[in-house]
């Protein structure tokens, strides 16, 4: 199968092309003003790499998968339409109150400490565009106040008269009993019919997120409504362009749930963070094929360092209330950690704290970028340090397409770090590198420990353009670091391994085990009915995708908790349906095991009862995967790939040493490069310090180990 996978990042847009069994990677600069430009450009580059035109390549492609930051970009620009929000009367201020400390959402701990400067984000829907309608459903899903239709109609007209170009309807418990949300939509449709100029989209929050929590559910619905039009326009333009150039297969969007879905069945909010999630899914796939059970996936780019974990052959670690820009949403996403450490991270001295050196989280980004980019940046960055220390070749950055100016890097580090500290420029650069590596290593340790493991139990996968340059420093106690020919475009590679997946979530509280008496439920019907309804919905959607739902595998996860607790733990259910007491027991035991492993056996509390809060059904249709090749091993001697030598700073020697330089593309399976050495690729540089060696194995993997 021929496929294209594209991942748009903050600095670069990456592509992986699999064509007639041969992989190819490409990178172009991201064009934030119009992502369709870099989207087309990277495909053109790939086509030209094959000696083809775009219109010659695309008809031969079977699948195009896309992870994008369009949603984030458009959200930051605040160019969405004027929306009206219809809530339950008395609860109009929900999104403005923002569960109190809304101002901390989307900020780092250090940024939120100064209360004198904090601000809540400007709301996407201002207060005068929010109305409450007279209705109420209670926590059991019962109507305790019927919808006052006259009141609803009056308020819809009010919003329309104030210029609403879209409606979000989010009523309390609307996900549990949608009768009022649906009726309000009918009223809107009755007022503004499809053929009216005033026809506007209506988003029902209960349909966007079927889970408890009105603040997070409403915000997810608002984001979808807010971004829907701009994403539709932008993606339609890409879609049209692809079709114009001969592409006839579906455009699939990567989702933060870990699956892919057809573009027109994707909601805006679910595309958020899809790049790092795709990277993690790629790591999961590769780990499976290599027989690694525990993997730390890392991606070090220009501004951030993303970490995700494959633990016991699984990526089931979730963020239940992720933040998109400044907004907490009720969508469940696969968890990845992001810290402010990348090539563009700025180094600075904190004079208040006895000249402590801090690297990140501020980043120079791609514009002006590091000082050595010579685009106006004057702050010293990690990339500047790498240039000063001789790791990055200023003449071969980005395959030589971007010439770096080392003197700018020297000047920035000298003025801002070396002089104030009274050390040499090289020492200062080394300090920057050491601190950023140390911070990344510490972040990895924390993530690994939180899952109850030690770094020694893991293999580290290296992704991102800056990852291979720093992995020797951040791998810490992880014995083996693996880089790939596609490391610089790992997220794009990741999407090529993803299955088509639809995720269905619904909150429904069910007692599996009674508090105190520990009596197990015998009401299997309520549980099973919920699953059946979700499966029916999945079958309809898969049929709509043109897929045979008989090919789909169904996986059930349950958000569960002990009585009296607030935080749920998502557990993999060993049963899809309940038929007997043993089934109930199996589900409770699976939950107890996961809960205990994640937190502590001390806090397991079956005396409080065991409850299901939400059901999560995944309908998965396997796609064809790219497989790593098995190649014959050459001799260990890498001499054929040697490009030359140059002085490189090695902290062990506290000085520069003339160091051999190798071309990554020239290395063959079986080659072993003993450190100290630098291996330069078109899109990245691998640093092998004196105590380590870098080898290429029969799968083409680059292994860095002591």
């Amino acid at each position: 199968m021929n496929s294209i996978d594209i991942d748009v990042g903050g600095t670069f847009t990456d592509l992986v092309l699999n064509f007639n069994g041969m992989p190819m990677i490409k990178k172009v600069l991201t064009t934030p003003y119009d992502l369709s430009v870099c989207f087309s450009r990277v495909i053109e580059e790939a086509a030209s790499g094959l000696g083809l035109k775009m219109e010659e390549l695309l008809p031969a492609i079977d699948m195009l998968r896309y992870s994008t930051t369009i949603a984030t970009n458009r959200l930051i620009e605040r160019k969405g339409p004027r929306l009206g929000l219809i809530s339950t009367e008395g609860h109009e201020d929900v999104v403005l109150i923002g569960r109190g400390a809304q101002w901390i959402d989307g900020t780092r701990v250090a940024e939120r400490r100064n209360l004198a400067v904090q601000k809540k984000p400007d709301p996407l829907i201002p207060r005068d565009m929010i109305v409450g309608v007279k209705e109420r459903i209670d926590s059991r899903g019962r109507v305790i106040r019927p919808l006052d239709e006259n009141d609803a109609r009056k308020k819809v007209r009010y919003l329309a008269s104030r210029g609403a170009r879209g409606f979000v309807v989010s009523l309390l418990w609307g996900f549990l009993n949608p009768v009022h949300e649906r009726r309000v939509k009918e009223i809107i449709r009755d007022e503004y019919k499809e053929y009216h100029i005033g026809y506007v989209p209506v988003v029902l929050a209960g349909q966007v997120v079927g889970k408890l929590g009105e603040y997070e559910r409403t915000l997810a619905a608002i984001l979808d409504a807010y971004l829907q039009r701009s994403m539709q326009i932008e993606l339609s333009a890409m879609w049209d362009k692809l079709r114009e150039k001969g592409y006839r297969k579906p455009l699939l969007m990567v989702q933060s749930s870990g699956g892919i879905a057809e573009v027109f069945r994707t909601t805006a909010s679910r595309t958020y963070n899809s790049g790092p999630v795709a990277g993690l899914m790629g790591a999961y796939h590769v780990a499976k094929s290599l027989g690694y059970h525990n993997v730390v996936m890392t991606d070090m780019g220009g501004t951030s360092f993303d970490v995700g974990l494959v633990v016991k052959d699984s990526v089931r670690s979730y963020d239940f209330r992720p933040i998109i820009d400044r907004w907490m949403v009720g969508i469940t996403m696969i968890k990845t950690l992001s810290i402010g450490a990348g090539g563009g991270s700025i180094a600075a001295i904190n004079r208040l704290l006895q000249n402590q050196v801090q690297v990140g989280p501020r980043s120079a980004g791609s514009m002006p970028g590091p000082a050595c980019f010579n685009l106006g940046g004057a702050e010293p960055t990690v990339t500047d340090a790498d240039v000063v220390l001789g790791y990055i070749n200023p003449d071969y950055y980005y395959g030589g397409r971007m010439r770096l100016v080392p003197s700018r890097a020297v000047q920035a580090i000298r003025d801002k770090i070396a002089k104030p500290l009274g050390v040499s420029v090289e020492e200062a650069a080394q300090l920057i590198r050491k601190i950023v590596n140390g911070n990344m290593a510490s972040a990895i340790m924390k993530e690994v420990h939180l899952r109850g493991y030690s770094p020694e139990d893991f293999v580290l996968f290296v992704g991102g353009g800056a990852g291979p340059t720093h992995v020797e420093g951040f791998k810490g106690d992880i014995p083996k670091a693996v880089s790939f020919s596609f490391s610089p475009v790992f997220c794009a590679f990741g999407s090529s391994t993803m299955n088509i997946m639809h995720v269905y979530e619904v909150s429904k509280k069910i007692t599996l085990m009674e508090p105190r008496t520990r009596q197990q439920t015998q009401d299997y019907e309520t549980f099973n009915r919920t699953i059946e309804a979700l499966i029916e919905q999945a079958q309809r959607d898969l049929a709509g995708d043109g897929l045979d739902w008989n090919r789909a595998a169904f996986v059930l996860e349950l958000d569960m908790l002990y009585g009296g607790q607030f935080h749920v733990k998502r557990a993999l259910s060993p049963r899809l349906f309940l038929h007997c007491q043993e089934d109930v027991q199996a589900v409770c035991q699976a939950f107890e095991k996961e809960f205990s492993e994640a937190f502590s056996p001390f806090v397991v509390n079956p005396e409080g009862g065991v409850f299901v809060e939400s059901f999560v059904l995944k309908a998965i249709v396997e796609t064809e995967k790219v497989h790593l090749p098995n190649m014959a091993l050459a001799e260990p001697d890498p001499a054929a790939a040697r490009k030359g030598e140059r002085p490189v700073y090695w902290p062990e020697a506290k000085d520069f040493r003339v160091t051999p330089i190798f071309g990554y593309e020239g290395l063959r399976p079986g080659n072993v490069v003993e450190g100290p050495a630098v291996i330069e690729g078109e899109y990245t540089t691998i640093v092998a310090p004196p105590s380590m060696r870098f080898s290429i194995d029969e799968r083409g993997l680059g292994i860095l180990e002591a």
Binding site: E89, G100, L115, A116, K120, I144, G213, A443, G564, S600
Partner: protein
């Protein structure tokens, strides 16, 4: 065993002098390794905090209103993940007490867990409980780890952990001095049994939270020992002491930048327990001189026979909240930052009561010391070119602390606080702009209010409205943030027990700055036998679920009751209604200087009423179209300024007139002598 004296406590707040060995270890830490070491402690604490939040059961635990910390071997707090800053400065007192008195008997050994909730020994009040673990490496004490959290049940004479009617510590339930509850890494079953039968109303929650604290402290211990294994004990000892030293140097630098002088803040409280009572809850003189700050509380009212007293270190805890949010925000959380700060607490005042005093509701008074600190520091900082941006009025911390207890719709025994009103307080107006509306919780700025659906799912309530509380903010050139209001209807069960703690129904407790207005007091309102549910079910089109409409027009029928916010435990029936309020923040600067457009924006946001816009801000506009008449506004404001001058009088004349006035005698029972608040006699406690 002696209870720590005031002078011991104040001495223990200061960092212990470094030994030669510690100094040498600190000096050996290379640059770069130090920065990474600091980050490693941050990550260790963050990891432990996540474990803490996930494994706690009480509301405060799950919302992160807690603290995890690392200490030096001699008990100085070096770094913490917060939650709340309340415990950050004062926990060394507990560690140093244990070190002083229990080294030999029962001994401090590897695998111990020490536990305490007794404010006499260094805590805030007895719902706040802390687990402490000594960290040994090859038999040598290297450091300590702690986990502190508020649990809403202590077996007191009322449920909820903060008994309003307690008159002495003997009515407050469990007050446990530092005690060893685990040995050889195992919790002692005899102590667990003791907690189970002690008389706690929710023993399972109590034990669960206790285990969460122990698990968390142990997590810190394990990780720190991993660092020791990797880098050696000298590195870790050096790192911790260098962090201590660096934080102190930073604090000294910041304090140096403040102008010298004396600055005063005075705050009054309006209730003691269930009864109205005026007390001068904080008479604070802050002196900045020679790189040091002295907080002197002379002039504060005497202690009283209620739980509204505060032990001195709890006062320091409340001041730490201000310091870390506005002044030391760029410093590490380390107790050494308070090294250049001294405290003067006269004996037997409400902020330094006798050992038998009840203090479980101390936070309501403690927060007023924070307000006095805000105002004193505002006066200190406003003329500073670097620090004026940090000036802010105190947050509006008056709120409805409503406890609900009984059987839930899930047949679970519940006894917890309705935390929306805690976590949606308004921030005080700031030198640079308005306070944030419903910004959070003054004791834990990052804590989150729950969704209404979350509360309704767990508790037998239906929340029939949840809104910003119009006109709750203190007005000003930069107004305070608005508070919020909820209406709770008992639902899905026949009955529920509820009580409420707090203060601030009669007098605005939190003071504005530089001509701003105070924020609204908090009423205690309930409706028994209300027809709300019936009206809802019938679809009554006249029923408007808006707090102003309900409170102003009496649209809900029933037995309305207006009381003080603090209310005794009572049984409420299904359909009965309670109101919960979170206070708005006080204002900053003269409302006449507020931009008229900002006033109109507040109208659109429904933060203020038309009455306020017209009569407080003196803005003239077309009420239908909300269009400003700039010229008429200018004229109206000029008119008001002239009227003010006409109403004014010379200062001496004012003082002469004012000093003759006195509040009614029946509210001065606990004030002390009028007006200078001197003790009038001993306090008798049961």
């Amino acid at each position: 065993m002696p209870i720590p004296t005031l002078s011991e406590k104040l001495e223990w707040l200061k960092p212990a002098p470094m030994t030669l060995y510690e100094r040498e270890c600190a000096a050996k830490i290379p640059r770069g390794d130090y920065e990474i070491g600091v980050q490693t402690t941050n990550d260790i604490l963050e990891e432990a905090m996540e474990v803490f939040v996930r494994s706690s059961r009480s509301y405060f635990g799950v919302s992160g209103d807690s603290m995890v910390a690392i200490f030096t071997a001699s008990g100085d707090l070096v770094n913490a993940a917060c939650g709340t800053y309340l415990h950050a400065i004062i926990q060394p007192i507990i560690v140093k007490f244990v070190l002083k008195h229990y080294k030999e008997n029962p001994g401090i050994r590897e695998g111990d867990i020490w536990y305490t909730n007794d404010a006499l020994y260094g805590g805030i009040h007895n719902p706040d409980q802390v687990a402490l673990m000594p960290i040994f490496y090859r038999g040598k004490l290297l450091a300590w780890a702690s986990a502190a959290l508020h649990t809403t049940e202590t077996g007191a004479i009322e449920p909820g952990g903060m008994p309003v009617s307690a008159r002495s510590r003997f009515e407050e339930g469990l007050n446990l001095p530092p005690i060893k509850i685990a040995e050889n890494y195992e919790l002692r079953n005899d102590f667990l049994e003791f907690y189970s039968v002690y008389g706690l109303r929710a023993p399972a929650m109590f034990i669960s939270d206790l285990r969460a604290r122990c698990t968390t402290a142990d997590r810190v211990r394990v990780r720190l020992l991993e660092l020791v294994e990797k880098r050696g004990p000298e590195f870790v000892v050096g790192l911790l002491h260098k962090m201590c030293d660096t934080a102190e140097a930073g604090a000294r630098k910041k304090i140096e930048a403040l102008p010298n002088g004396k600055f005063r803040g005075v705050v009054f409280n309006d209730a003691i327990g269930w009864t109205p009572a005026l007390v001068r809850s904080c008479y604070l003189t802050v002196t900045k001189q020679d790189g040091r700050i002295i907080f002197d509380f002379q002039g504060t009212s005497p202690e009283n026979a209620s739980s509204y007293n505060v032990h001195p270190q709890a006062v320091v805890g409340h001041i730490a909240n201000f310091m870390y949010e506005y002044f030391f925000h760029d410093l590490p959380i380390a107790s050494s930052t308070f090294a250049p700060i001294d405290f003067v607490f006269p004996e037997c005042i409400i902020l330094n009561p006798s050992p038998t005093a009840a203090t479980s509701c101390c936070v309501f008074i403690g927060m007023q010391t924070r307000c006095a600190t805000h105002n004193s520091f505002a006066r200190m900082m406003f003329s500073s070119a670097n620090l004026w941006r940090q000036v802010a009025a105190s947050p509006g911390t008056q709120h409805t602390s409503q406890i609900c207890a009984g059987l839930s719709q899930w047949k679970l025994a519940v006894a917890d606080i309705l935390s929306f009103a805690l976590n949606t307080q308004g921030q005080g107006g700031r030198a640079t702009g308005d306070g944030m509306d419903s910004y959070g919780f003054a004791w834990c700025a990052f804590g989150r209010a729950p969704d209404s659906e979350q509360v309704e799912s767990e508790l037998p309530l239906t929340i029939t409205l949840s809104q910003h509380w119009k006109d709750s903010c203190g007005h000003g050139r930069h107004r305070g943030g608005a508070g919020a209001v909820q209406q709770w209807m008992v639902h899905k069960v026949p009955e529920l027990v509820s009580l409420c703690m707090g203060n601030g129904s009669k007098v605005p407790l939190f003071q504005p700055l530089f001509g701003g207005y105070a924020s609204a007091p908090i009423p205690g309102i309930s409706i028994r036998k209300s027809d709300l549910l019936e009206k809802m079910q019938k679809g009554d089109p006249q029923l408007a679920l808006d707090h102003r409409a309900i409170l102003g027009k009496d649209t809900i029928k029933g037995e309305w009751k207006y009381e003080l916010i603090a209310r005794t435990p009572q049984v409420y029936q299904e359909g009965d209604v309670l109101f919960g309020f979170s206070g708005g923040g006080p204002g900053y600067g003269d409302p006449l200087e507020r931009e008229p457009d900002a006033v109109l924006e507040d109208l659109v946001k429904q933060i203020i009423s038309d009455w306020t816009a017209q009569n407080i801000y003196h803005v003239v506009y077309d009420p239908e179209r909300r269009k400003l008449d700039a010229e008429k506004t200018r004229q109206k404001r000029d008119g008001e300024r002239r009227a003010r001058l006409a109403r004014g009088k010379p200062y001496a004349e004012f003082v002469q007139e004012w000093s003759k006035k006195s509040p009614p005698k029946d509210v001065l029972q606990w004030y002390g002598t009028w007006p200078d608040a001197k003790p009038t006699g001993p306090v008798f406690r049961p």
